[in-house]
Symmetry: C3
């Protein structure tokens, strides 16, 4: 079973904290102990874990990835969104998070973030949960 969640992104490049959405899926699964696999079915966004305490960190990550030298090179792909494809590969499309006591087990400052690089759009996040035996 794949849980599919829809997320509306609000600007061209933005990190969106989706921790509460994933926690809700874990609750609905009724799985006490296991692993959540979180996946984005897109090629111009990514999924990552980073600080959710200070919202400035999200802005800094977006700004930094816009400054690593991949905006200005000449691209073959004619849609104009090649930097978004590159960032998708840099950030990655799948992460793994542990479940104990029917909840995600995250580090103190960690949140799960959808990384939008070619919005605004309606995106999907897919989740599969495996029960620990």
């Amino acid at each position: 079973m794949i849980y599919k969640e829809r997320i509306r992104t609000s600007s061209r490049e933005v990190l969106i904290d989706i921790t509460s959405i994933i926690k809700n899926v874990v609750k609905r699964s009724n799985i006490v102990s296991g692993i959540a696999f979180i996946y984005v079915p897109h090629t111009t966004c990514g999924i990552t874990i980073n600080e959710n305490a200070d919202p400035d960190v999200k802005k800094d990550i977006i700004n930094a990835l816009a400054n690593i030298g991949i905006e200005s090179i000449s691209f073959y792909h004619l849609e104009g969104n090649s930097p978004a494809h590159v960032k998708s590969t840099i950030v990655g499309s799948s992460i793994t998070v542990f479940i104990e006591n029917s909840d995600l087990v995250l580090g103190r400052w960690q949140g799960i973030m959808l990384a939008e690089f070619d919005g605004p759009r309606e995106r999907e996040v897919w989740i599969k949960i495996i029960k620990e035996l």
Copy 2:
């Protein structure tokens, strides 16, 4: 059980679409619903998911990663392939893809790519498939 697939890369830096190879492994596994874990046992290549519709996207990703400022610094490692090691860590060596109805479940534009950064070589891709109970 680990499925081991061999892939011959054709140039020094190239993204190679291996989606059909992974789909074939899923078919051979006879697993209807579960998760495929895909892994490269190398330190100068990576595994990623990105667009497989326009082949130019693959070239753009290779070119962009060659322009983030890691080619020209002075390296300690004397084999001359340090940029490839760095790109391997940036892209990553493992991904997770879901299986339903005995097939991979990918987004509309997604393909699975071996990212060669120090070819041409014969590479291996390892796959383990976990059945959903």
Copy 3:
């Protein structure tokens, strides 16, 4: 069950080979065949796989990531460690490694590395092991 291992990092930015620590966890788990999921619960370090034969590769990766243009931009986050947050997202916080014959199955040159970007600190690495049925 989550295995939690503590690692003391020795400098601000460093890659630390933790392969033997993970191998030891696999041994303690008594699982013969399966998958190890390795996770860092932090937002200024990452987990990666790269060459463990020549220790210079670890230094080259740290130096290269310090040269991709994310040190000098103006950051909003006031703690001064935004580059470490960005590198955490670039390297990633979770990896997957296979287990056969009660041991990790790594490529010939591969080792598992904790990537410290904001040390020295005491860090944790979390491991969950899923048995293959």
